[in-house]
């Protein structure tokens, strides 16, 4: 059975390492301040005992006030998993750091989120639409796109 690690416990560890990085945490998941996303992700990937070497999926949810980007991390070595979230505010040009430099599996998925949800990923090597054509107006998965 893949063990879902407690978001609270990992959050305590992260807060020690990077003060101010955690917005909130629960048993199921933790929310990271987007400014700390890259150092936190690097830590989760490399720290012995955590070794989150496999990025299962990335997706985004539109909550009107903010967008939430959800990362599902798995460690194939230890068979445990963790859900990390980050939020970005504003609807004009929301931007968060890209994790392609850590997990290349994020490549197409971040492009998909940009295409359909309109969140830019800073540092992505090829940040352009993936499903829709270049001249397409708007981002269909947003809740205000009708």
């Amino acid at each position: 059975m893949t063990v879902a690690l407690s978001g609270k416990e990992i959050a305590t560890k992260l807060e020690e390492q990077f003060p101010g990085s955690i917005v909130e945490s629960s048993q199921e998941s933790l929310v990271v301040n987007s400014e700390f996303l890259l150092p936190v992700a690097t830590f989760l990937k490399d720290a012995p005992g955590l070794d989150f070497n496999y990025l299962t999926s990335i997706t985004a949810v539109d909550y009107y006030d903010y967008f939430e980007v959800v990362y599902q991390l798995t460690s194939i070595e230890h068979n445990h998993s963790l859900i990390v979230k980050t939020r970005c505010y504003g609807r004009d040009n929301p931007t968060i750091p890209s994790v392609v430099s850590l997990w290349r599996g994020a490549d197409f998925q971040e492009r998909e989120i940009y295409d359909l949800m309109g969140i830019r990923f800073d540092g992505h090597p090829n940040m352009k639409r993936i499903f829709l054509w270049d001249g397409f107006q708007g981002h269909p998965l947003r809740k205000d796109y009708l």
Partner: protein
Amino acid sequence: MALKTEPFVINIGPQHPSTHGVFRMRLTLDGEVVIDLEPVIGYLHRGIEKLAEGRTYTQNIPFTDRLDYLASMSNNLAYVLAVEKLAGISVPERAEYLRVIMAELQRIASHLVGVGCFLNDCGAFFTPLLYMIREREKILDLFDMVCGQRLTYNYMRIGGVSHDIPDEFLPALDKFVREMSGFIDEYDQLLAKNEILLARTKGVGILPKELAINISASGPVLRSSGVKWDIRKADPYSIYDRFEFEIPTGSVGDAYDRYWVRVQEMRQSVRIIQQAMEQLPSGEVLSEVPHLFHPPVGEAYGHIEAPKGELGFYLVSDNSIAPYRFHIRAPSLINLTALRDMIIGWKLADAIIVFGSIDICLAEVDR
């Protein structure tokens, strides 16, 4: 005298027999050697994730049929598992067994098409594919018996399956399972040591283990690179912890290993179906779930080992009758991330083989 040469850009697809759907590869060639590649996708994008937000949880089941249409049963299963997790719905014992039987039959059917089309790409034009279509046809007949459909089954329901199996199903399944091992032996005799197949696929399009993990590959693509990771074992869903089976893994991660792993997985699926038939209990197949129900506010991620890799549904509920967010983790899309690394440095003719060895379904890539 040195010849002056220039890189040459060609498009393969979106309408091309070797792309198995509407997929375009923009290749940059130096002579015959591929020096750059960009996959161009989206021709089949139907906005299923957006459509699903406007329909009830039950109404969304037929949409999942239309993702990877070669593995509709598996898609049904992944989705209903996610909804059941979200709403805390239990499933009768008999339905769990029927789900496993259908999912494993579906894995065999999908691998038959995947391997057959791959051999087509290798130049074994249609002979092996038609052998495999012959066996797949028997699986489609079995599915037809239980739900009246041959491609888009819409068989699983939230809380079970739509119909119990008819009386003639188990004898027919038993006959199929007995024959299937022999058919797989036949494929091995014809193909596994075939000199032309070995020459075309051994050492071609290698995906190293570390890269396979980093690139989030899953399913046979990940396992052929030597990673023993199968969600049926790593995170058993439904009742997979009750069956004995092995996880075949490759050693180098070349096109041949991906072919070989799929053939071995069919053998393991046959084993699972045999065990499920022996243990099949009697009883109800569908627990009572109202047509419209309100899952509590929250989120759930349900995932399965689909024929093409890890298929997951991430659902967010706002306590209404429709999902607030419906995301599909599509193995075909994510496995494509590895395509560029696997093809660069190989010749154009190899590019077709490497692409075929990933086994994708464009309806699932584009959604």
